[in-house]
């Protein structure tokens, strides 16, 4: 019997990432992991790329994971889980396992967009029955906020610091969700912890689909974003409502916007509370704000067009 999608019912389920882990207070990642694991009706085996989530949840003899979990290295959560899932298929075929088990990989944006991209692309192409979840906080937060290809345009990081000549990251983000959709896998989605019901629904749907699935989830990081520790959900909501982080899914090639804000907020509402964008509000950087807004508008426009909801 599937758990009805209500907070009351979900709250009765066991939380499979225990408290006591060492993620920073106010981090989006453990919230996302808990939501993902609550969404599952199946036993899960998880793989984790090296990163904040990994170094903070399994230290020496202490693990926060109540499910089987493997960390191998930074760039290979997808390849590692490919091996786990393949062994599962082998043993199931041989009649040595009878349970239905689902496989989920967790990686940050560095381990997914950048160093782990080949491993992810390969695993998706091979068609492993797994869900890869990227918790995207927009930089290498674990090593101290260095820019990744997921870092937003203009953001100040420790390797693209806003200076007198260069004003933060000159390039726009890599659109990984679209790239994963271009793999023609059965399910790709973007989600945000602010919209928990949308997120849980997408995970549930993904786990019912056989084959490779990818979800990109916005994960606020108060250290890197230079925001208040209690603003994670507020910021991820603003990311959605400004259409900086549109919520949508592409199921068997069909694009569907799953949340359309009643009133699309200006991007500055998302940028203003974050210290990493502070320099963009200097009068001489007005043009950058304009460029950034145009990028967001363009992506949102093309998404609406693709989903036929213009």
């Amino acid at each position: 019997m599937a758990t009805p999608l209500t907070l009351k019912e979900l709250s009765k389920k066991e939380v499979l990432l225990t408290s006591g882990h060492r993620m920073c207070s106010g981090c989006g990642a453990p919230i996302i992991v808990k939501m993902v694991l609550l969404a599952s009706e199946y036993p899960i085996v998880a793989a984790n790329a090296t990163g904040c989530l990994e170094v903070s949840t399994c230290i020496s003899d202490y693990t926060a994971w109540k499910i089987p979990w493997i960390h191998n290295a930074f760039e290979n959560a997808a390849a590692t889980l490919s091996g786990v899932e393949t062994m599962y298929r082998s043993l199931k075929k041989q009649g040595k396992i009878d349970k239905d088990i689902k496989f989920i990989a967790f990686g940050g944006d560095g381990g997914t967009y950048d160093i782990g991209f080949q491993s992810l692309s390969g695993a998706m192409e091979r068609g492993h029955d797994m869900l890869y979840i990227c918790y995207d906080n927009g930089a290498y937060m674990n090593t101290g906020i260095q820019r990744s290809s997921a870092t937003p345009y203009g953001a100040d990081t420790t390797t693209c610091p806003a200076g007198s000549v260069i004003q933060g990251k000159p390039q726009p983000r890599k659109n990984l969700t679209k790239i994963m959709a271009a793999h023609d896998i059965p399910y790709v989605a973007q989600a945000s912890p602010s919209n928990w019901s949308d997120l849980v629904k997408k995970v549930k749907k993904a786990l019912e689909i056989k084959g490779p699935k990818f979800m990109n989830i916005l994960s606020p990081c108060n250290r890197g974003w230079r925001s208040r520790t209690d603003d994670a959900i507020m910021l991820s909501r603003l990311g959605v409502e400004t259409c900086y982080w549109p919520l949508y899914e592409i199921e068997n090639g069909v694009t569907k916007v799953t949340f359309k804000p009643k009133e699309k907020k200006p991007l500055v509402d998302f940028l203003k509370p974050q210290g990493r964008f502070k320099h963009l509000f200097a009068p001489e950087n007005e043009n950058m704000l304009k460029n950034f807004q145009e990028m967001v508008d363009k992506e949102w426009g093309s998404l609406l067009k693709a989903s036929g909801t213009e």
């Binding site: 020496s60 089987p68 091996g83 786990v84 393949t86 062994m87 390969g122 091979r126």
Partner: protein
């Protein structure tokens, strides 16, 4: 009943893998190892093995997949060479540090640059300190026999470490030899059922693999690894004893050839040992007491046993098919010298670097070296301790 066949080294290894019939293999093509996986995947496609393949997009992912599959709880193997192993580098340490009994055929090949696809030992020597067991093989028969034994050694409950089986690229991998295959059932019984240890797929007993361990306990883990390494020799010898029962072939930690009463000797790995043995025979016919030692278990290195086997010789040449740039000597020489360190009156040593990038090692080279050893045995003097042979000046 053993079956006599004429096969290449790669074919023999692929056939051993078919007989072992692992649960999963994750692999990526690279010359000269490609042929092993080509042959093996045809067994998969024709339903002759139960193995599920992960045809990965790189060697890094191939070894990552092997690690995931092994941790999941089943028997796992792969094969690679040279650059492929170099790309796996990081993962080799993670496989051994996680105590996963993966078996890998390493078809030895030179490392770039310059690009060269032929046989030398640079790849295997580079991986000597990564915590894997290494078994080296002279010919197709040994590569086949070592492959079968590697599973039993790696998966032994006292060990649980990954093992690589080394054979010379092209010289062995692509040359046809006469050899014997053991019966399928005998191989199956010899390797036995795979026993999972803390498998990820046991969802009733969740385990975490790959923790962060800093200054407080990291060193204890490393020491534990070193202690396990010290138990490998015994398991290798036990496996060899059992293997002799099904094959009639004897294996030890190393092979000695006419070494018991020898005054001069060669120490040499893999295929070049075969060439050297012929030349040793011709020196013996001349009344010169020459012998040979060919290491088999290179990691962990049996220092004590090898030191004892060589201590009474007058002069020994260690031939290395790899150099250790910036170090004084070739990698095999360094270990041989270390094994003789406790023996004050041990032999005079010299080191020749030969056969890099597949350069031929001919009987003439062995003759040259043995003649030099004859002089050294007389005079006790070495002209040049380390030298490249078979090379243009």
């Amino acid at each position: 009943m053993a079956k006599v066949v004429a096969v290449t080294g790669n074919e023999a290894v692929a056939y051993a893998l078919k007989q072992v019939n692992p649960d999963v293999s994750a692999a990526y093509p690279i010359t000269p190892a490609t042929d092993i996986m080509q042959r093996f995947t045809s067994y998969v496609s024709n339903g002759q093995v139960k193995t599920e393949m992960v045809l990965a997009e790189s060697e890094h992912s191939a070894m990552s997949g092997c690690i995931g599959a092994s941790a999941a709880g089943g028997r796992v193997m792969t094969a690679t060479s040279s650059q492929g192993m170099a790309l796996m580098w990081e993962e080799l340490f993670i496989a051994s540090g996680s105590r996963l009994p993966i078996v890998m055929a390493l078809v030895n090949r030179a490392l770039s640059a310059p690009l060269n696809i032929h046989g030398d030992h640079s790849d295997g020597m580079g991986a000597r300190d990564c915590g894997w067991i290494q078994l080296w093989s002279e010919n197709a028969q040994e590569a086949y026999d070592n492959t079968i034994q590697a599973f039993r050694i790696a998966e032994h409950m006292d060990i649980r470490l990954p093992a690589m089986v080394c054979l010379d690229g092209f010289i062995i991998s692509h040359s046809i030899e006469r050899m014997e295959y053991i019966d399928d059932d005998a191989v199956k019984n010899f390797v036995g059922e795979f026993k999972a240890l803390n498998p990820l797929l046991d969802i009733e007993h969740p385990v975490s693999y790959g923790p962060l361990i800093l200054t407080d306990y990291y060193m204890e883990y490393r020491k534990a690894h070193a202690e396990v390494m010290s138990k490998v020799s015994k398991v290798v010898l036990d496996a060899a004893k059992e293997f002799e029962k099904i094959s009639g072939r004897k294996y030890g930690l190393f092979e000695t050839y006419r070494l018991d009463d020898a005054e001069i000797g060669l120490v040499i790995l893999n295929s070049a040992a075969g060439t050297s043995k012929d030349v040793i025979d011709s020196f013996r016919e001349k009344g010169i007491k020459a012998g040979l030692l060919k290491p088999r278990l290179f990691r962990p290195f049996p220092y004590e046993e090898i030191g004892n086997a060589l201590k009474n010789l007058k002069a020994v040449c260690v031939l290395d098919r790899a150099d250790a740039f910036g170090g004084s000597y070739g990698p095999l020489f360094i270990d041989i010298a270390a094994s003789l360190y406790p023996h004050k009156n041990g032999p005079v040593l010299m080191n020749k670097i030969y056969g890099l990038g597949g350069r031929d090692y001919l009987p003439g080279h062995a003759e040259l070296v043995l003649n030099e050893l004859v002089d050294i045995a007389k005079t006790g003097k070495v002209k040049m301790i380390k030298e490249y042979i078979g090379v243009r000046e």
